[in-house]
């Protein structure tokens, strides 16, 4: 046993937590004092608190579990910061990317069975079956699913991300984003125009299917040609960085990013051999939808976070995704596992005629943007967003500041002008989420709980603490074994 040596250094500087009043002597003595606003960790269980404490890093003990986690996280952060997502291609059909997918439908969020799916996701499944012509009516489609004729899997497990219901079927075209640093690719379906009547909100009326056909037959070939005409593809990180400086969070506001994309593809399209009609149609579609860029933003984030996934012992979240019932997270050092908790209803504004009673719980893979340190984490760049929750520009700054408490680094590639150009907080550490009792914030659109009713509002939502508490438990088991 060493003698305690550091206790009697000349100066005492105190951190105080718990009952008030016990630090009055410290205060009166003039010694430095920081008082914590302490809350029990995570879900308030002492067992979790004790597990979590085993995972704290120690500069003086490189072999303790926490120090191993810290080293793994440094590697993960490096991979996030050095990622170079580039839009390189459009796959004409998902089945080109995954030739064996057969009758598989990919969906948003953690795994879920047909019977457990929310209304919009069921609607989107029916729509995708009709689109694929695996059935011709809703009833026939539902019978096919009920008979086990369709395999379901999360987009995330295929290197893909899908907005809202996130359904990807074999015939759908996909954006292809390459992470040039590590060589991995990520995929996302293109945004449908048509407002409420879209598959991603669970609609499957004939005009929805027509819209999907338009994407397949017009948008996809045009954009494939457009990106082919951009030498080396379109680097997305600089584009996203620039749009943060133009008021986007590249999750729920993509107005600037979509314009920048429009600028990039216009020249390329015009120079291409594609017919004027198709170019018109494509530019009209992109130009009419402020959110068109979201698919590329999501794919860029996915390409980044997949590269960061699978570092043993790392406690960094590599995916947050919602299937409309549950939120699931994946953690870099806990490969092959989802940690799920019940999804909340987003808090925010509703379109006229709708209320919280109509809202579906949080849904979509788009929270990959927050996972990569954008979206609500970069809200300081997008003060317009806080109007959804009745906030002020100061609140936008507060979201970005608060999320810095649950992340391990800052991304110098995505800076926040209003916060003196400091990098957006990035790398959600499950230990910090549980320790701080702060749930990651997500900017999101709100879907109607009935299929096909579409978007009814937008706002913010927080990932459930249970995901992080369970993940801490699993990491404690893995790291202290």
């Amino acid at each position: 046993m060493n003698a305690a040596s550091s206790a009697l250094q000349d100066k005492t500087s105190v951190i105080s937590l718990g009952a008030s009043g016990l630090d009055r002597g410290v205060e009166s003595s003039g010694a430095p004092l920081v008082r914590l606003q302490w809350q029990p960790v995570g879900d308030g269980s002492p067992e979790v608190a004790w597990s979590l404490a085993q995972l704290v890093g120690d500069a003086g003990d490189a072999d303790c579990p926490g120090s191993r986690i810290d080293r793994a996280n440094a590697e993960v952060l490096e991979r996030i910061l050095t990622a170079q997502p580039v839009w390189v291609d459009v796959a004409a059909h998902a089945s080109e990317v995954w030739p064996d997918m057969g009758r598989t439908l990919l969906h948003a969020g953690p795994p879920i069975a047909w019977n457990d799916m929310c209304g919009p996701m069921k609607g989107a499944v029916v729509g995708a079956i009709l689109y694929e012509k695996w059935a011709t009516t809703q009833q026939e489609a539902e019978r096919l699913v009920a008979a086990g004729g369709i395999r379901f899997a999360p987009c995330h497990e295929f290197g893909a991300v899908g907005p809202m219901t996130g359904i990807i079927s074999p015939s759908m075209p996909l954006f292809v984003v390459l992470n040039q640093t590590t060589g991995n690719r990520a995929y996302a379906p293109m945004m449908e125009s048509g407002g409420a009547k879209t598959l991603r909100f669970g609609a499957f009326a004939p005009e929805v299917i027509e819209g999907l056909k338009l994407i397949e037959n017009v948008l996809a070939p045009c954009l494939k040609a457009a990106v082919a005409g951009i030498d080396g593809g379109l680097p997305l990180k600089p584009l996203m960085s620039q749009s943060l400086h133009m008021g986007d969070d590249v999750h729920n506001r993509n107005t600037a990013a979509t314009l920048l994309l429009y600028r990039a593809v216009t020249e390329s399209l015009i120079k291409s051999s594609i017919s004027r009609d198709l170019v018109d149609e494509t530019l009209r579609t992109i130009g009419a939808d402020d959110m068109f860029f979201l698919s590329l933003s999501m794919a860029a984030c996915k390409a980044t976070m997949d590269a960061a996934h699978g570092v043993p012992f790392s406690s960094i979240v590599t995916a947050m995704a919602r299937n409309g019932v549950n939120v699931g997270i994946r953690v870099s050092g806990l490969d092959g596992q989802w940690f799920v908790g019940p999804a909340d209803i987003p808090v925010g504004l509703f379109l006229p005629g709708f209320s919280e009673a109509d809202a579906n719980p949080d849904i979509g893979d788009s929270a990959i943007t927050e996972t990569a340190g954008l979206g609500a984490f970069a809200m300081a760049a997008a003060p317009a967003m806080v109007q959804f929750v009745g906030g002020t520009p100061q609140d936008a700054l507060r979201y970005s500041r608060e999320m810095a408490h649950v992340t391990i680094g800052r991304n110098p590639g995505f800076t926040l002008p209003m916060l003196d150009f400091i990098g957006a907080p990035v790398g959600i550490d499950i230990r910090k989420v549980v320790d701080e009792g702060r749930r990651p914030v997500i900017n999101t659109a709100t879907a109607h709980k009935e299929p096909g009713m579409g978007i009814i509002g937008a706002g913010v939502v927080q990932a459930p603490m249970k995901c992080f508490v369970d993940a801490v438990g699993a990491l404690a088991t893995a790291a202290t074994r």
């Binding site: 206790a7 308030g44 608190a49 120690d58 002020t392 320790d435």
Partner: protein, 532 residues
Amino acid sequence: MAIQSSIRANLYKDSVSLMRISQVTVARTGVQRVTLLMGTRSNKEFLQQAGLMSPALESAKPGDIMIVVADDAPDKLAAAEREIHSQIAGEEPKGGSTEAAAEAPPRSISGGVAMADHADLALISVPGPYAAAEALKALRQGLNVLLFSDNVPIEQEVAIKRVAAQKGLLVMGPDCGTAIINGVPLGFANVVRRGAIGLVGASGTGLQEVMCQIHRHGQGISQAIGTGSHDVSSEVGGITMLQGLELLAADAQTKVVAIVSKPPAPDVQKRVVERARAIGKPVVICFLGGEPAASAGNVHRTSSLEETARQAVALAGARQSGGDEQSAEQFAERVCASLAPSQRYLRGLYSGGTFCSEAQTIWRAAGIRARSNVPLAGADRLADVEQSHGHTAIDLGSDEFTVGRPHPMIDYGVRIERLLKEADDPTVACVVLDVVLGYGSHPNPAEVLAPAIRRAKAAARAQGRELPVLCFVCGTGSDPQPYEIQKAMLADAGAEIVGSSTGAARVAQAIAGRMAADDNATGRRVMQGGER
């Protein structure tokens, strides 16, 4: 009585805040009873015992506040509940659009470390089941720990102390009430001058009394290291006490070391004494309530707090003050002159646990058998803690009195009630009260205690008796509640002021001896009368 219960989910508040909200709610709405507790298992059991548990509260988690309001008039309940919710909301940090929200206090140890100026000590008083986890986080980040919290699982205590020892850091506690590190008072602590005497103690009020006496003798304290009450058990093995000894051995400012503790487990005691022999500085050891032991070499054994302070001061080469106090016998003679023969029993109503055991030790040595809620080994336990019986010494800071209530050093309510109850008992010869000053304690104890002493004495007088109330004040002239002023206010209310805990126990002992002697004399007269 009508009862209404509800839960405020996901908001932790410490017991002091909850009690303040309860008090304000009672004051503002006139509702009879408000109980606010976090939803822990033990708090639910407490509600069950109090008959306040309801199905609505079953689902409360440890991070939820359980709200119970009770009144004979059901219409008061809703108003009380509204008041509670508005109080709770009023205490929450204001969100919204100000920059202040950006600088909200940190929530975690690592957040605190990031904000602090080279933090090196964590003062932890969160509920026991969470406390060791916070301590471990602090240790991993290079902080020493003072763990005020009690009810920490023993295996967690051992685990954190082992990590601390490996890292050369101190864990003072769990259940450590006081320490002074580099002149910074932590927890319940008095303002004493710095000097040549280093203290290590497993007993909070014992340390406070010794440091105050040392200060009043004109000497001072280099460091006062609390170990917590479980440290000297076999399971923990005295890790902190031994570390403390090493620290003081190496500390240039420390010339004399004094140890104040309940008797350690035999193996721990052996190790501590062996280590003390080897440190090359005089060591005064007081294992209060243990077997008397002979001094040898540099190790001086004492059996009372007063003797410990005097010995340490003498070894530090300082002049001792005092000695002009009247002797315990003289004191008792004066007090007993006005007592009725029925008044035979001592009632010690202590807020400091060490004072309670020191009194029992002194009384036992004098052949006085006292009952207690915290009896010495082999002594009688009080059957009903609410009811004194014969000679009685009560620790009102013990768990059975403090669940859901502030400690009696902070809130004198329970002690005052008990004092008035003892005043009604014709067999009581005297009441002994400790008054602990310093940080953490009541901001002005004499202000609440003096009127209560007046009432108690008046009540006894109305029944034809005098009630002597012996008070000793654990404090210094530099405390936030100055010692001399507190003493004067208590004396003015008719309290008998004694200079130390040891002195008060000895005066009480002398009073009991005299009253028992009188009783024997009476008894003899009766018997002689019978023979006649």
